[in-house]
């Protein structure tokens, strides 16, 4: 009997069956992930004025030097007129960024037809360039001097948040037109250590806006990457918030503080072109964006420094 069963002791192995075992490339592609364009969605967009050419765009500043109130102490006396000097604030479009790649005809024709390689990489390139614009806007932190809070060793607490809001309101900016922009590290590791931002006894019922929208982000929050509100001011997160020496340069901005303009050729903000190049016998794809960024109203911004060396607890 032993010999009869011995036949089954030598089953096929995967190696034996290698000729029949197939491999399948799934239609799922794990793409690169990007931040939402929270800064460009919020700041002043001058793109509409750039469609007919020009490189410099003027936004007259009447707030630095303003009219003054006189007192008519002697009735009938001649009035004293005011003539404050205007300040010419400008935005220059001078940044042209691109992503380009070339795929030869041989490779192109052999790539599985189920994959739209051009589209996948075009989407990725668009994400990269949108992030470049976001990073440029976030990089304007270095010009903020009027309202700067914290330093390289600051752990963001409620005091910093209230100081930032006070600074903004002290400039007579409407808080309803402002927004916070935090690095996710600061949002999760420091802001959420502040009990009054998440404890129901201080935030109030679940349908009242808090640092986290109704206990989770909700669909709207996911779309806009708006995490919630602090004292009624919307709060966004993005990793484009600049870091230097373990210090994140978070921002509280009025919408008039920073401006940008996109002047990419064609109708869109980002242009994608794919052409067949005979000289390379392949397809050349170029995705590009032309833009400029500027601080339009510096006192309408608050810099909130936060050290990544600390965790609030």
């Amino acid at each position: 009997m032993k010999f009869l069963f011995a036949v089954t002791s030598d089953p096929f192995t995967g190696v034996d069956l290698a000729g029949f075992i197939s491999e399948t490339w799934t239609p799922i592609v794990n793409n690169k992930t990007f931040n939402d364009t929270v800064l460009a969605n919020f700041c002043t967009d001058l793109s509409m004025f750039a469609t007919a050419g020009s490189d410099i765009f003027h936004v007259p500043d009447l707030y630095t030097n303003s009219l003054t109130v006189g007192t008519q102490s002697t009735q009938g006396a001649e009035v004293t007129t005011a003539s404050p000097a205007q300040v010419d604030t400008t935005l220059t479009i001078n940044i042209h960024k691109y992503v380009a790649w070339l795929i030869g005809d041989l490779d192109m024709v052999q790539i599985a037809s189920k994959y739209d390689v051009a589209k996948e990489y075009a989407d990725q390139a668009k994400g990269l360039l949108a992030e470049a614009l976001e990073a440029s806007i976030a990089g304007l932190w270095s010009s903020i001097s009027t309202n700067a809070i914290g330093d390289t060793a600051t752990v963001v607490s409620d005091a910093e948040i209230r100081s930032a809001l006070y600074a903004m309101e002290n400039q007579k900016m409407k808080l309803s037109e402002c927004a916070f922009f935090f690095h996710p590290y600061v949002y999760w590791e420091q802001l959420h250590a502040i009990t009054k931002y998440y404890q129901q006894y201080s935030v109030g019922p679940a349908n009242v806006a808090g640092a986290v929208r109704t206990g989770n982000f909700g669909q709207d929050g996911y779309v806009l990457n708006q995490k919630g509100w602090l004292y009624g001011v919307p709060l966004y997160t993005t990793t484009n918030i600049v870091s230097g020496l373990q210090t994140y340069r978070n921002l509280l901005l009025h919408k008039s503080a920073f401006g940008f303009a996109v002047q990419t050729m064609g109708a869109g903000k980002i242009r994608a072109t794919v052409t067949h190049e005979n000289r390379n016998i392949g397809y050349l794809a170029v995705v590009d964006i032309i833009y400029g960024v500027a601080v339009l109203r510096e006192p309408a911004s608050v810099l909130i420094n936060a050290s990544s060396a600390f965790i609030g607890s």
Binding site: I56, V59, D61, V87, D88, T89, T90, L91, T92, N94, I95, K97, Y98, V99, A100, S136, G139, L140, S142, S143, S145, D151, T152, A153, T154, V155, S157, D158, E189, Q190, A193, I194, T195, K196, Q199, Q200, Y201, S202, G204, P205, V242, S243, G244, L245, Q246, T247, G292, V293, A294, V295, L296, E298, S307, S308, A309, F310, I311, G312, S313
Partner: protein
């Protein structure tokens, strides 16, 4: 006002006190309001993030303030790319020193040690670390690498 930390609240109060057992209805919202009192004061601890302290570029602004930044931002400032306050209020950035970050990194390690018991002192150590890093490299000027070269080794090696 009486203050109960969340952990205490969970372990003691919630397990032993159930207002529904008392025969009347109390919303949890009101219940928490009575128990919690003042918010817990902020307490910080040191992060164990093992960030690679990279080269640090110090720039001096027109108003005399010193800012520290990493190489990508330094390249943008160096090339005067940011549009600062328009043409007539332009703030100039002058590169005043480039450090390797070693002094700050040492300060960070020391702050981590001290921070276990004294966060305030740890913060002071970090502040001093940044000041010492600046003083040590003041006058040592190195041009930031060109971060605009797509596909270049410089751009490839930069970790955003």
């Amino acid at each position: 006002m009486h203050q109960v930390h969340l952990s205490d609240h969970n372990s003691k109060k919630l397990s032993t006190v159930n207002p529904h057992l008392w025969g009347f209805s109390v919303s949890w919202y009101n219940y928490f309001m009575e128990i919690k009192g003042d918010p817990k004061p902020l307490v910080a601890s040191m992060s164990n993030r093992s960030d690679d302290i990279r080269q640090v570029f110090f720039f001096e602004r027109t108003d005399g303030q010193i800012i520290a930044c990493e190489e990508l931002e330094a390249w943008n400032l160096y090339t005067r790319r940011p549009q600062i306050l328009g043409r007539h209020q332009r703030v100039e950035f002058t590169l005043v020193g480039v450090g390797d970050g070693r002094i700050y990194r040492d300060a960070l390690e020391k702050a981590r040690e001290v921070g276990r018991t004294d966060i305030k002192q740890a913060q002071e150590i970090l502040r001093k670390g940044q000041a010492d890093e600046l003083e040590a490299c003041r006058g040592k000027l190195i041009r930031p690498r060109n971060m605009d070269k797509i596909g270049s080794e410089e751009a490839k090696n930069y970790v955003y």
